[in-house]
Amino acid sequence: MFGYVHAADDVLSQEDRQRYQSVYCGLCHALGRRYGLAGRMILNFDLTFLAMLLQEGSCGTCEKRCLAHPIKARTCQQGSDTLDTAADMSVILTWWQVQDGIADHGFFRGVKYRFAALFLRRAYRRAKAYQPDFDAATQRQLRDLAEMERRGEPSLDAPADAFARLLAAAAEGAKDPVKRRVLGQMLYHLGRWIYLVDAADDLTKDVKSGGYNPLPRRYDLPEGKLTEEARRDLSMTLDSSVRAMAAAFELWDFGENRGIIENIVYQGLYAVGGAVLNGTYRRRIRRKGGHAHA
């Protein structure tokens, strides 16, 4: 996915920071175990957040070394079914994102996406076999999204809704019916938020290249940029989704991940959204974490 989900730095406790890192490493190992190096390359914090949301009960940790940390072993969350599921979904989401990149770019500029696809093909086939329903839901929503892009859908909410539903489909696997509802809401609004933040982040690039972006259809863009008023307007709709995530979050006990998720839905997402809207978001991080070709 995109790599926009971050915790707020100044209010994350040392213990939560350690746990965050251990889920990150645990997901990396799960990806490695199931999909090899190609799987590991797609790891980012959005996917780590997804793994934390999906987690059921308490998971132990272990110390592991890896290619990136060959000397000093790091604390990893122990492998579990939900971590594996998060890994499968990560591969499927990244695969379709890469396919979208191929469709959006011409032959030469699409080369890197084609390489990424080549690299990921085997992993995707396996992930699809593990999670056929999620793969089908993802394809369905992306088809809707492509259709909207083709006809130049003027609404902001409609394309965001397609992406939001795509992510919400990840909630279907939750066993408890209450958790399924809570997670469905959280992931819906996470998807909506990611879609809109990504649109704002890519605006300048899309205006230049003529690529599809929902913002120019909703707001006037003198000099290809959002006006101050438009940015405030957009920030309010982002806030609505973050608030909906927080409201849903309070209705389920997320156990040991509670502190990190709370940080993200009450602080972290606001900080990232603000940074994207005022142009200080560090795109470098995003590139590194975002695509398989990085």
């Binding site: 915790a7 990150y24 405030r232 409201a247 972290g268 606001y270 603000g274 974490g289 990085a294």
Partner: protein, 215 residues
């Protein structure tokens, strides 16, 4: 189902002082306040939680009055005085006759498709029509359109407190909102101020000596 330990529900030890119990209750009541779950598909869960919290608080009060576990004087029952009791999570359809009443009823019952059909059949797009359109959008998570409908409703009927309240909530002017870190943060505050977020390098290099873990 046996009632859970009221102290556990309130998240305080049974040795907590009256003031601590009261504060815990107030924080929880703010967290699950109907305002935070208006037009939210999970409102029923919040309402259940609120009921549980109210019962736990009343139970603790009753216990303390009986046993006098800690006696720091008397206080009223904020459960009722704050109006956090159940029953305020949805819209009232009393007093709305005709088409509007039917739409509100459909929304109340969670039948958004019916509500939308009824609205689309109406010719007169008055303030109430715009408001109800906004409610349906909000319920579906289409919050940009919801806000625009609420804005129109307020423009057409500036004196209607219900429409104004819906718009205020949508635009984050709900000052009593719960935030574990205090205050009310908004994206726009982070556009102006220095809100920091954790970077990959920060989380990785803090544990290893080199930041290549991010590939």
């Amino acid at each position: 189902m046996p009632m859970r330990d009221p102290y556990q529900v309130l998240g305080v030890p049974s040795t907590a002082s009256d003031d601590e119990v009261k504060k815990a209750y107030r924080d929880l009541a703010r967290k699950y306040h109907p305002d935070n779950y208006q037009d939210n598909p999970l409102a029923d869960l919040a309402q259940e939680r609120m009921k549980e919290i109210n019962e736990a608080y009343e139970e603790v009060q009753a216990q303390r009055k009986r046993g006098g576990a800690s006696s720091s004087g008397s206080y009223g029952n904020p459960g009722s005085s704050y109006g956090y009791q159940s029953g305020t999570y949805g819209y009232q359809n009393t007093g709305y006759g005709g088409a509007s009443g039917r739409v509100r009823m459909a929304i109340q019952q969670g039948d958004l498709n019916l509500a939308e059909e009824l609205l689309n059949a109406q010719r007169d797009h008055d303030a109430e029509w715009n408001f109800l359109k906004g409610v349906i959008c909000n319920r579906r998570g289409w919050m940009d359109e919801a806000r625009r409908y609420f804005q129109t409703a307020v423009q057409m009927a500036p004196d209607n407190p219900e429409y104004q309240h819906a718009l205020d909530r949508m635009e984050g002017r709900n000052t009593n909102r719960y935030n574990p870190y205090g205050g009310t943060l908004r994206t726009v505050d982070c556009m102006d101020g220095p809100c920091r977020y954790l970077t990959l390098a920060a989380i990785c290099s803090a544990f290893a000596g080199f930041p290549i873990c991010c590939y």
